[in-house]
Amino acid sequence: MSFTQTSLQNVAKKQYLFKLKANIGASSALIIAQVSAILFSLIGGGMMGSSSDGLSISVSNFSGNVIIAFTMIWAFIIAFTLTTKTFRNTDFSFVSNRLSSQLANIAFILTFSVLGGISAMLCGVLLKVSVFFVLGSEDVLLEYVGLTQLLSGILVASSYIVLCAAAGYFMGTLIQLSKLFIIIIPAFIIGPIFLGQNNPIEMLFTAIVQFFAGEGSLLLFLLKVLLTITLLFISATLVSNRIKVRQ
């Protein structure tokens, strides 16, 4: 019997700090993802053109959307890997319980998502500067992004990234509960491609995307994200309680 008194908060904090140090390699994956996204974006997306009577017009669109999308994928994978056996076994190095481990994981995911959001928006700025220098200033139309817009962009990008991370964490936990989900989840995601247009699953995905992306009010959007990630994290915690120790 130990005479050392400890609290849930202290244990979770220790685990969180340990996870931050142990998973510093995740940031190198983020750099690779974002640098690759910048290179992809430099090719130029959303090109459109027209030609009429000898006059041809072509418009190339550049934006940091690919960078944010890559960062979302990175967050999904990082959160997913946290639920794998290797990562879960590191928690046994501490005197802890499942709740403290879950709290540490959630804090880790939130921290990395915010870092991902900040770096993704700054990468967008770097892309704009790169395009400007590569293509020259003569035929470039630049939409001004002020500091307020940049900060709100960081807030919203972080929200989207944490949403993806929470979804990845929940899916990872489901797979740890039953290996059947390894088949069910990809089938649910890839299946609609083969079912043709206007199938119920595709409509459900569209409704989910519209629920977040179609929201015009920033406060309502943040509220929606907060409620969704809370629901996903609570569900993941409840599911993980059903997983056997060292399963």
Partner: protein, 142 residues
């Protein structure tokens, strides 16, 4: 493209030049390398903000968007052989979502029906512009 390669080369060069000098006992060299790479990456990202701010002050597009829809532009005198190229640097969907514009184009509508946009076109002074009711033309400067 060249600029991005230069940035990557700078990141790699600076990270590798520092890592050999800063080894401390008890810290693995891999962690040290990563710390330096991270530091350089963050520095580049932070540096891009004032550079962008400087460029934007000089070149950003003033005013609101006025041209909508996808339409061919016809010019009087069909013998004009020319190619016009525009590059538009847009805001990310995370910003445009809250500005009353479409955020995600789920069905690729941008290919056929792009949202409102403004195009600045430099034309020679001797070219006559014939007004078209489907095209809102504003002459900024003559």
């Amino acid at each position: 493209m060249i600029f991005s390669w230069v940035i990557i080369l700078i990141i790699v060069f600076v990270a590798f030049s520092f890592m050999g000098k800063s080894f401390h006992p008890g810290r693995s060299i891999q962690t040290l390398r990563l710390h330096w790479i991270l530091a350089v990456y963050v520095a580049i990202l932070l540096l891009s903000v004032p550079v962008y701010s400087f460029i934007a002050d000089e070149h950003f597009v003033h005013g609101e968007t006025e041209m909508s829809g996808y339409m061919p532009i016809e010019m009087n005198g069909s013998d004009l052989q020319d190619e016009i190229k525009w590059t538009r640097i847009s805001k990310e969907f995370t910003i445009t979502q809250f500005l009353g514009r479409d955020s995600f184009d789920q069905f690729g509508r941008s290919m056929h029906m792009p949202g409102p946009g403004i195009f600045y076109l430099r034309i020679p002074a001797d070219v006559e512009v014939i007004p078209n009711e489907s095209l809102n033309i504003v002459i900024v400067d003559e």
